[in-house]
């Protein structure tokens, strides 16, 4: 559990700078849904200021990973360290107050609350920081105009944006984004991912889950591919080939000779 032990333990890929404490350090996480082993010894290290993307097919365990990091699932084994502190046993609301904030799959807005009330609930237990309801309104003008409308009257893209806004006003240190593109038109997805640089500029770290691989490769500084609960590939988007990603995504045998970046990254 001590920090120095982290250094250089399992860096087979080697191209990522190992300097600095990871903001989020997930170690050998095992999660069961009943009998099903949803995650099997998954590890990841998210450095401050990074956009870290988890890719993988349906049922690969991506959402389970994010939900476990947020505290909504209890791991059978393994640990989650946040800024060097073990948070594995913390309840989800305590993690949220410390700055691990999840935008859940399917948006999960409060249906009987107005747009502004959703933001206010998001800010109720937030940390102090650059993000306020006013700032979110500045970024998304329509939100202020429609502040007193119920969320059911928003379009899918607007709902997703509001869900992100609700998370931002809590001033997270690491923002977990679960499947932002789900059920949205490609244009809308582009627009939402287009906001990412503006959000990152305020000093956030982002860990996101995405089924759309090309989207993930475009925005991420580091990607990790899951297949049936295990890590099959990890690396910087620039360092992985399309063939490698395809093999890791679908679980095909590694194509030809290129196998050194993936597979072996587990200790």
């Amino acid at each position: 559990m001590t920090l120095p032990a982290v250094k250089g333990d399992g860096e087979v890929g080697g191209e990522r700078p190992d300097s600095g404490t990871p903001l989020l350090d997930v170690r050998d996480l095992v999660v069961h849904h009943g009998q099903l082993r949803a995650l099997d010894a998954v590890s990841l290290r998210v450095l401050p200021g990074e956009v870290y993307a988890i890719i993988g097919a349906n049922g690969a365990g991506k959402s389970t990973l994010l939900r476990t990091i947020a505290g909504l699932h209890h791991p059978t084994a393994g640990s989650v360290l946040f800024d060097g502190k073990d948070v594995t046993r913390l309840r989800p609301e305590r993690r949220a107050r410390q700055g691990i904030v999840l935008v859940p799959e399917g948006r999960r807005l409060f249906g009987s609350l107005s747009v502004e009330e959703n933001l206010r609930v998001g800010a109720a237990y937030g940390r102090p920081g650059p993000w306020t309801i006013e700032r979110v309104y500045q970024m998304f003008g329509w939100m202020q105009e429609r502040r007193s409308q119920p969320t059911a009257q928003l379009s899918g893209g607007e709902q997703q944006t509001l869900a992100i806004g609700r998370a931002l006003v809590a001033n997270p240190r690491v923002l977990l984004l679960d499947e932002l593109s789900l059920g949205l038109a490609p244009v809308v997805v582009q627009r939402i991912y287009g906001m990412l640089p503006q959000i990152m500029a305020t000093g956030l770290t982002v860990l996101l889950v995405e089924q759309d691989v090309s989207q993930a490769l475009r925005v991420a500084s580091h990607i990790q591919c899951l297949l049936e609960g295990r890590t099959t590939l990890e690396g910087r988007p620039a360092d992985v080939t399309a063939d490698q990603v395809e093999a890791a995504y679908f679980g095909l045998a590694p194509a030809a000779s290129s196998g050194q970046t993936g597979e072996g990254s587990e200790p």
Binding site: A96, V101, R108, G111, S112, L113, V121, G122, Y125, A170
Partner: protein, 291 residues
């Protein structure tokens, strides 16, 4: 004129029934707890009021200043302990637990206070007095006061739920407690606050009924709980003002029934209750379940 009288009396009694019902509705709407001990807790509140008045000699009408906070605290504690424990298992477990609580309270009251009925503040001019409208209609001051209290309570609850931080959190948690946790809210604490509110209204219901009629250990289940259920179902589950609508409809139905035949008073109320269940199961004030 007798019919007009029946309707006026029914509407005013509806205020009392709304007071019975709003706590039940709140507990169900927020934490999905069907509190079968609801009526018994109102009786407990009434007995506490009788005890407080006897010991402190505080004016009868002001007894609520002590009883409401005591019951609210009890609500928070019960919610955080046995109700939450039951909820963590399943929603059905809460039915068993609150039923058990109801049995325990009833028998406890029988054991310590006997089966005799008691009233609060009998002999008080406000409780026994009335005024006349025309020659045939007599309206009790007490019923008017209780109706006014019910309206004030509902207005207060509505204001709290819509405008305060905790009111917003209560609605958020009722919508999606997991999403509320992700926003940093401890839903157990929020549930506790909702239970405290509900128990505060239960306290008022117990005191009001103790003044209006008489309390005995079985009043909680055979009168208060049943009328509260009927009012909630008629008005629409989870709707605050629906409890007043439901209470008024129940009250008017009972009075009209009594006008036809005095022994049909309670039956008439339940016939309306059944009719609503069959014809408009979502209640009078709520729209069909939204998607």
């Amino acid at each position: 004129m007798a019919w007009v009288n029946a309707i006026i009396q029914g509407v005013l009694t509806g205020g009392l029934y709304a007071l019975f019902a709003c706590g039940l509705s709140l507990m169900f709407g927020v934490m999905k707890v069907v509190n079968l001990a609801h009526g018994d807790l109102a009786v407990v509140a009434g007995y506490i009021a009788i005890g407080v008045i006897a010991v402190t000699h505080i004016p009868v009408l002001w007894s609520f200043l002590i009883v409401v906070p005591v019951m609210a605290l009890l609500g928070y504690v019960l919610q955080r302990t046995i109700f939450q424990g039951a909820l963590d298992r399943s929603v059905l477990t809460t039915l068993l637990v609150t039923f058990g609580l109801s049995v325990v309270i009833e028998n406890g009251l029988l054991q310590f206070f006997t089966a005799n009925s008691r009233a609060i503040g009998t002999g008080l001019p406000l409780v026994t007095g009335s005024f006349s409208l025309g020659s045939q209609i007599q309206i009790a001051y007490l019923l008017v006061v209780i109706f006014a209290v019910a309206v004030v309570v509902l207005l207060g609850l509505q204001y709290f739920l819509s405008a305060s931080k905790y009111g917003r959190l209560i609605r958020a948690v009722a919508d999606d407690k997991e999403a509320a946790q992700l926003a940093g809210a401890d839903y157990r604490h929020v549930f506790g606050i909702a239970a405290a509110l509900a128990f505060g209204t239960v306290a008022l219901a117990g005191i009001a009924y103790g003044m209006y009629s008489q309390l005995s250990p079985t009043t909680g289940t055979d009168t208060i709980l049943l009328f509260a259920f009927a009012a909630v179902v008629i008005g629409g589950l989870g709707s605050l003002w629906g409890t007043l609508v439901g209470g008024v409809v129940l009250g008017v139905a009972q009075q009209i029934g009594a006008q036809i035949n005095i022994s049909d008073e309670v039956l008439a109320g339940y016939l309306v209750f059944l009719a609503v269940l069959v014809l408009r199961p979502q209640g009078l004030t709520t729209r069909r379940a939204q998607s």
